[in-house]
């Protein structure tokens, strides 16, 4: 199943939104952190894992999802959250630690939650697998439509949670898709250095489909994701969709990634300009329409950042609220 022109435009728009959002955060992140870098300083404190280069994995899968479905992302969640349709203003406000944020400033960029679109995060590697499969179990038990998708990095596949949950998801035929974003790095350790058999091949061990998508290409990811999502919706159980992607920056802002060779970095390809060119070449969009779309996305992102900056901080003692329901 190939994406329609409308779906391709949506994929470009969502990738661009994620990219422009990350660009804006990157700029804001350095405020208050020069000349001496301190992660806790400035309007945007804390660790910041951005999605530069990984945008295709989010749009290619989320293009197939509807309101009944659920999505769990990892510690690098911006592209997935945006493709899933998490409220951008409240997401930006959360990243800035504001009262108007998704969680009122209790979560931050690594812990984004939005029940309106059944979205959650796991800041701990691979540990969103269980909650993801658990939502799938709930859908099955309640005989409700909807599947769950859990995003993980390539480093996650060597955590016990990955194996435990895949085994049970397959055993109980849960409507679940495990997405592995293979950006070749678990912080500084490459996939080849850490993993003897890649995740998609391990699918054989769970008697479920496994597929590897090369090229970091939204159209190819879309096609592969269609198969995985359909498999889950049909009640046939989980699958593993491993997607080759690129981490264009360090693990977090401040990681100069000195463990990568210059040649390797120079050889990295940015998927967004390439997709833009393709859409223009294939006349999916004409240049004026493309530019109008880009201006609209830029405006949305600008508004989200303005909303975040203009919002109040929570009162300090709001920290005491919401520990218990």
């Amino acid at each position: 199943m190939k994406p329609t022109p409308k779906q391709r435009i949506w994929m470009y728009e969502a990738m661009l939104k994620s990219r422009l959002f990350d660009d804006a955060l990157f700029e804001a992140y350095w405020e208050g952190k020069k000349p001496v870098f301190h992660m806790g300083k400035g309007p945007l404190p804390g660790e910041m894992h951005q999605s530069f280069g990984q945008e295709p994995t989010a749009v290619g899968v989320c293009a197939h999802l509807g309101p009944d479905d659920a999505v769990g992302a990892g510690h690098r969640p911006h592209h997935v959250a945006i493709a899933r349709g998490v409220n951008l203003n409240r997401m930006a406000a959360e990243v800035f630690g504001k009262k108007t944020g998704l969680s009122g400033g209790r979560g931050g960029h690594m812990h984004l939650y939005d029940t309106n679109v059944n979205f959650f995060c796991s800041g701990i590697i691979a540990e969103g697998m269980g909650p993801g499969a658990g939502i799938a179990l709930a859908r099955k038990m309640q005989k409700k439509p909807g599947i769950a998708v859990a995003y993980n990095g390539d480093g996650a596949v060597n955590q016990g949670a990955f194996h435990e949950v895949m085994n049970m998801a397959a055993l109980w035929k849960l409507p679940f898709v495990c997405v592995i974003e293979d950006n070749n790095y678990a912080v500084s350790v490459t996939t080849r250095e850490s993993t003897v058999v890649p995740a998609w091949k391990r699918a054989a061990g769970y008697n479920c489909p496994g597929e590897y998508v090369e090229g970091n290409d939204p159209d190819l990811i879309f096609e592969a994701a269609a198969r995985a999502v359909q498999h889950a919706r049909a009640g046939n159980g989980p699958s593993i969709l491993e997607i080759q992607t690129e981490r264009l920056h360090g693990h977090f802002i401040g990681d100069s990634a000195g463990y990568r060779s210059k040649d390797e970095v120079a050889g990295q390809k940015d998927p967004i300009p390439a997709y833009r060119t393709r859409l223009l070449d294939e006349k999916v969009l004409a240049t004026p329409a493309m530019e109008a779309l880009e201006a609209k996305v830029q405006q949305e992102v600008d508004e989200a950042l303005k909303f975040a900056r203009d919002s109040e901080y929570p009162a300090a003692d709001e920290a005491l609220e919401r520990v218990y329901a």
Partner: protein, 349 residues
């Protein structure tokens, strides 16, 4: 006098804690199709400690789910199911096993409500067995209640008898948070751990009832010294109180009943009256529940103590296997008696 249980009329029976607890689960499952039970050996076996006997027959394999030995996986799955509207009950037979799944408990189930700003609720109840005294050594005899109580977002109840086991289980199942219902193996009423301790058996009404969280229970009133415990140490304290009474010392026995939240007012009330305090706990001493009880008095009014308080707890050693060494590590009535007497001795000149 011990607190009188309501509804102990014609419908009441004497039950073990295991039976009383599962009666509550079954009653709630009959009413709410969103409740399901998940864990190891709970369907065909009925739970290692008999907590789920009869449930698979009544509710079927869809709602009483035997899992592989994958605690991280199934606690994570239960957490996700709870986020999506189910109300899972998870059994972990031995609290020692939280070592392999603690991340899902303290980073997910306990924090999701907070980190999501209250958007996602996690109404999940865990049934966990704890404690030693039967030579199962350091990896199957721990309490780890202090470990769990240290983490915000978890409610912990520790019933000491069958009446509380049932009432507190109903409370947990109706709560919208992660609740942990913990029973000491020696009072659960297991055939393979000898005769059930009589004071842990109780008259239990057939009707449903809840017990409020954070409400301690006075098992025995006294005037000279307060013996604070929970779970098994309530029974040690009751035996100690008998022995002390024979020597003319009047001990009050206070059962904390729920560790989180803790009934600090009840502690203050009792110690204000007696002026002396012994806290008994089978868990590790360091940074444990006993320290929290003492801190309550230190913060609120240390002047109520007429003598230094004494803690009887595991002396910060892994629970040893060999009988004399294990007995050395565990609290018992004699240790509590000795501690109580030490609070009554005049201070050295």
């Amino acid at each position: 006098m011990a607190q009188q249980a309501p509804g102990t009329g014609g419908s009441a029976r004497t039950l073990t804690m295991a039976r009383a607890g599962r009666e509550a689960v079954i009653a709630e499952m009959r009413k709410d199709p969103n409740i399901f039970v998940i864990g190891e050996d709970i369907a065909k076996l009925g739970g290692v400690f008999g907590t789920t006997v009869g449930m698979a027959e009544e509710f079927g394999a869809q709602r009483v789910i035997d899992t592989p030995i994958s605690e991280t996986g199934f606690i994570g799955i239960a957490t996700g199911a709870a986020m999506a509207g189910m109300r899972p009950v998870v059994e972990i037979a031995f609290v020692d096993f939280i070592g392999v799944c603690f991340n899902q408990i303290f980073n997910f189930a306990a924090k999701t409500h907070y980190m999501s700003g209250g958007q996602f609720k996690v109404p999940l109840t865990m049934m966990i067995g704890y404690g030693g005294g039967y030579n199962d050594a350091a990896q199957h005899s721990q309490c780890l209640i202090g470990t769990l109580a240290h983490v915000p977002g978890i409610r912990i109840v520790t019933p000491a008898d069958a009446y509380d086991a049932k009432g507190l289980m109903h409370t947990c199942l109706r709560d919208d948070n992660l609740t942990i219902w913990m029973v000491h193996k020696a009072i659960w009423g297991l055939g393979w751990l000898g005769t059930a301790i009589k004071t842990a058996m109780a008259t239990v009404p057939e009707e449903e009832y809840t017990i409020p969280l954070g409400q301690a229970r006075i098992w025995r009133e006294g005037t000279d010294v307060t013996l604070v415990g929970y779970g098994i140490t309530v029974h040690h304290s009751l035996q100690a109180a008998e022995k002390l009474a024979a020597e003319g010392i009047s001990a009050e026995v206070l059962d904390l009943r729920t560790i989180v939240p803790l009934d600090r007012e009840a502690i203050m009330r009792s110690v204000s009256k007696t002026g002396r305090l012994v806290v008994a706990d089978e868990d590790y001493l360091n940074c444990g529940v006993t320290a929290e009880v003492l801190a309550t008095i230190a913060e609120r009014n240390p002047k109520i103590l007429k003598a230094p308080a004494v803690r009887v707890a595991n002396p910060d050693i892994p629970v040893p296997f060999s009988r004399p060494m294990e007995n050395f590590a565990l609290p018992d009535a004699d240790k509590i008696v000795a501690a109580a007497k030490s609070t009554l001795r005049p201070a050295a000149a």
